[in-house]
Symmetry: C2
Subunit: 314 residues, 2 copies
């Protein structure tokens, strides 16, 4: 018995055949080319699924279910994708279309939710009933696992942690609000803050690492400079940690999960980030000395998208 | 079959005998006098419970369980109150002590959680599996009902919505953080904002209603002045609605409940408040046009504390 996991991204569609224990038996991918009509994208997805099954040396009868992680929101009941802005999908009958290529139960959920589920099944939060996963990348995504199941809320619009407001009247966000957590806790936020900071500090190690070109600044480079003690980078990193710690504290004050898992590009800063955040979060809690959620780094990396999608059907 | 509900407040201990359908059959109360040793407070609570049973004309055999709503946090497993700052309790064995007066199962939870449970059993959110209750009073309390059960999180420290930060580096809060929702969404916040505003506007209707004495300003008076169109009061109310709408939007972005219930003193502003908040909340959501939580006023008033506590044992 195997399950298929599909990670639908803006650039690639990655498909994997996953064992019941969470191991990827075969993996293949195809370009998304999201400007095309959705039927063409789903046709390529369907063929990619059939190819992965072949590669894994299993038969269609061995496949229990197919799960798809999408960069947006979906309706679990109808199997339709409601809204995925960066692949231009609105109200797409993904389940119905995909089943014309392979007739299996199809489950669909948000990609960050799927990654959080993967960590709770085969990663760092394994064994936790209630966990929250945060992807710290270009934006900030959230995935909630509640009682061992992915949770998207009563209307399927939950876990949008990146758009919880932490600064009334703060920085304008793409979503139309101001002061969203995403504006302060993403990799993009580190880059923006660093660019602002080096304007007044031409000697910063940040600029040196970027070969003098502020346009080449990325989050890793800023965090590396902070690790090496560059004062400008230390200040940027320290502001970033404060914002992230406040966002995490807000999650704890509200839902008090067992674990909060940090994933996405910024999480590659590893123990350096983890130590800083663990030190700051209690400052923003009302019960500063009582036990609260463990904060950990994601362990599955890019494979979380495929593994979690496969496990949607469990 | 009846259940006992106890509402432990800083001033009074209110005890009610509650039918299975949520009707209060008898009710009595005693002063808390929280400066005393906790054993004396719980002795009075125990005697008050026995008196209420007598008043209701039922026998102890008819009592299935006792529930207590406390102004702080409790450990459901041990039956101990962990921390209730305003009655000076830390690590109090409430269940064990109370059972020396009447030997029944004792359940303990936070008072706002208990009020939220009451609304979901016998009030406005009846029939909702997932709802969030907000008390807008001196502070801001939160009560979460998830899958029909009160939810306090993995460590019992959840639903502290008043201490979610909506303004990084904002107004200092009693909890030691800055910018907590409570500083902007409580009745106290309305009073503070109004006092600041009338300083520069001696002709405001707010001051007239307070007989010219800023010390007599309360939230009702400010909202009444806003309702009558006083520009200073309208500005204060509009700022308040913005902060409350952002706090509510944050709850929706994260957990996407079926309903958000507004209770506490400020909620007596009724439809005037409700219309304003319902109009503003979508502005702060990422999916502005998709269905989201209904926002409603609490209907049980002060009785929610007793009814909800009684239903903790269900």
């Amino acid at each position: 018995m195997v399950r298929i996991g599909v990670d639908l991204g803006g650039t690639n569609i990655a498909v994997g055949v996953v064992s019941e224990s969470g191991a990827i038996l075969a993996e293949t991918s195809v370009k998304t080319l999201p400007q095309r009509p959705y039927k063409e994208v789903i046709r390529d997805m369907g063929n990619c699924v059939l190819r992965a099954i072949n590669q894994a040396g299993v038969s269609q009868e061995d496949v229990v279910s197919i799960g798809v992680g999408v960069p947006g929101i979906a309706d679990q009941n109808t199997g339709r994708v409601i809204f995925c802005p960066n692949i231009f999908w609105t109200d797409v009958p993904l389940r119905e279309e995909l089943q014309t290529y392979i007739d299996k139960p199809v489950y669909i959920d948000n990609d960050a939710t799927v990654a959080g589920l993967a960590e709770s099944v085969a990663g760092v939060s394994k064994g936790c009933d209630n966990s929250v996963f945060l992807t710290l990348g270009t934006g900030v995504g959230g995935g909630i696992v509640l009682n061992g199941r992915p949770y998207s809320g009563a209307h399927g619009i939950g876990s949008e942690i990146g758009h919880m407001i932490i600064m009334v009247d703060g920085d304008p966000c793409n979503c139309g609000s101001r002061g969203c957590a995403e504006r302060y806790c993403s990799a993009s936020a580190i880059i923006r803050m660093a660019k602002e900071a080096v304007g007044g500090a031409p000697d910063s190690l940040i600029l040196k690492k970027a070969s003098g070109d502020a346009g080449r600044i990325n989050a890793k480079l800023v965090i590396d400079a902070a690790r090496e003690g560059d004062p400008v980078a230390v200040k940027v990193f320290s502001d970033y940690v404060k914002y992230l710690s406040i966002t995490i504290a807000n999650l704890i004050q509200y839902m008090d999960p067992e674990m909060i898992v940090l994933g996405g590009g910024v999480s590659h800063a590893g123990q350096f980030l983890l130590d800083a955040v663990r030190g700051q979060v209690p400052n923003y809690l009302i019960y500063k000395t009582l036990p609260h959620a463990r904060i950990e780094l994601a362990t599955l990396g890019n494979e979380a998208g495929i593994i979690g999608a496969a496990f949607l059907g469990r």
